[in-house]
């Protein structure tokens, strides 16, 4: 399992990648996708919805369980991954790229408060 080192993480396994315009893309890690196994549904809010750091912005369902999706940054959703409605298994097959979930225009980037690559690996035991 490879966890990319270009982004930040929450202990609840969401990754955050902020671009130069302060837009943060959020998804879940390979570790989380593997734990959930076959993902059957991703419940995402609409574009324009405000998200708050530390709070749930949606839910992800697998055959095994339903889990909250937590945001590590605050702001407004500017884009959601429409592909996931048709094929949620993309999150299993490519969680760090094609399986992204939402893009948030942040109110000032707070992502540096999140876990870095090493801290996240230590937490998952993969480091």
């Amino acid at each position: 399992m490879s966890i990319p080192d270009d982004r930040r993480y929450l202990p609840s396994h969401e990754w955050h990648l902020v671009d130069d315009n302060g837009v943060c893309t959020i998804g879940i890690t390979q570790f989380a996708a593997d734990e959930l196994t076959d993902i059957t549904f991703v419940d995402l809010p609409e574009v324009g919805t405000a998200v708050t750091a530390g709070e749930s912005f949606g839910e992800i369902e697998s055959v095994k369980a339903t889990s909250d999706l937590i945001a590590g940054v605050s702001g407004d959703i500017v884009e959601i991954n429409e592909e996931l409605a048709g094929d949620p298994s993309i999150v299993n097959s490519d969680p760090h790229e094609a399986g992204w979930m939402i893009r948030v225009k942040t109110n000032g980037d707070e992502s540096d408060k999140l876990l870095d690559h090493r801290e996240y690996l230590n937490q998952t035991g993969a480091g």
Binding site: E35, T37, T40, F41, E61, V63, A65, P88
Partner: protein, 359 residues
């Protein structure tokens, strides 16, 4: 955390291990759906060694069991077994169990999560009623493997190294056979909606058994974990303790009144005779892809009428299915209700159970 004799084997197979009823158990070896489909199409093997295996003997063993168990046992044939309940004074379910008869002994399989509670209950009943019965907890000394799937009986019969005519073994029958100085019990019970067998063997023989199965494991028998076991049993509408069954639910509400002989004076029989159930466990099919989980409220016209006990995306049917305990007025098949989620309601239709029945 307790480990089954197959713990090392699970780890070698790449299983994800989780805590379940005090045991470290495989939840999946990769894809739950692949494991589920293997069981429906050919064969899957489950380690069910965590389930409690008790053995009752002594002059009052039969009388004792007919005091704590909802069905007769003294009229069982040698090698026959019966599904039923251990109930409390109120008729609530302490556990669902399978009682067998082997000459004058009674082997009983109980749920892992209830074993300690039942042993305490049994000791109390034995003492207060002054019954001469010996209760032997054989859980740690033995292992139990369940092989389930449409190919199991035919293919397992071919490789079984013991003298047993598996094809003619009837449902709810078992046979004990000796092999290399050890005793093995093969029963035909099943809990996935598929045909299959359970093999109980000495703990020390389980490594040997897995070596014997290593060929079929590659060819037609797939290891499957707790998660697939759950999706399979929901499709077959088999109740699971802690979900459909608990001490506040009686067997009639659970739709399992057939497994109670009310003429027998078991603990809880009086309460069951007098009871007028207000709820019933039904099947639901949800619109769309959301999965209702245990605890999700079910609504009719916005009012709560019950709760989901189990739910999954059915790999066989490709639909979101659930079992729920609903007020009687809303349990007719075809009734449209709603499953409540944090983000809104999803329409659901009451359907007959089971969701899946093998051809």
């Amino acid at each position: 955390m307790l480990q089954t004799p197959l713990h090392g084997w699970h780890v070698d197979q790449g299983a994800k291990m989780v805590g379940f009823a005090g045991w470290s158990m495989p939840v999946s070896y990769g894809s739950v759906i692949d494991e589920h489909n293997a069981c429906r199409s050919e064969g899957a093997i489950f380690d069910v060694s965590h389930m409690g295996r008790l053995r009752f003997s002594g002059p009052d063993a039969g009388r004792f069991l007919e005091t704590v168990f909802t069905r007769p046992v003294t009229n069982l044939d040698d090698g026959q077994s019966r599904y039923g309940f251990i109930t409390n004074e109120h008729g609530g379910i302490k556990d669902d169990v399978i009682v067998g008869r082997e000459r004058d002994d009674y082997p009983v399989v109980v749920n892992a999560s209830n074993r300690a509670k039942l042993l305490e209950h049994f000791e109390t009943v034995k003492t207060t009623r002054g019954l001469n019965v010996k209760i032997d907890d054989r859980t740690a000394k033995t292992a139990m493997l369940a092989l389930q799937g449409p190919a199991v009986i035919e293919k397992f019969a071919d490789i079984l190294p013991i003298d047993l005519d598996l094809r003619s073994l009837k449902r709810f029958r078992f046979e004990t056979v000796s092999y290399m100085l050890m005793k093995f019990t093969v029963s035909r019970t099943g809990y996935t909606g598929e045909d299959g067998v359970e093999v109980t063997l000495p703990a020390k023989a389980s490594a040997l058994a897995m070596r014997g199965l290593s060929g079929p494991l590659k060819e037609w028998l797939r290891p499957a974990g707790l998660a697939a076991r759950d999706t399979l049993r929901i499709e077959a509408a088999m109740p699971l303790y802690g979900h459909e069954l608990d001490e506040d639910t009686d067997p009639i509400t659970a739709g399992l009144g057939w497994a109670c002989d009310l003429k027998q004076g078991f603990i809880g029989a009086d309460a069951l005779r007098a009871s007028e159930p207000t709820h019933k466990i039904v099947g639901l099919e949800l619109d769309g892809k959301r999965i209702a989980r245990q605890g999700n409220p079910i609504l009719a016209n916005g009012n709560p009428i019950g709760t989901v006990t189990s739910g999954t995306m059915s790999p066989t049917l490709g639909r979101s299915i659930a079992m729920a305990k609903l007020e009687l007025a809303h349990t007719e098949p075809g009734t449209v209700v709603a499953a409540a989620f944090k983000s809104g309601e999803v329409p659901a239709t009451v359907v007959g159970l089971p969701f899946y029945k093998r051809a």
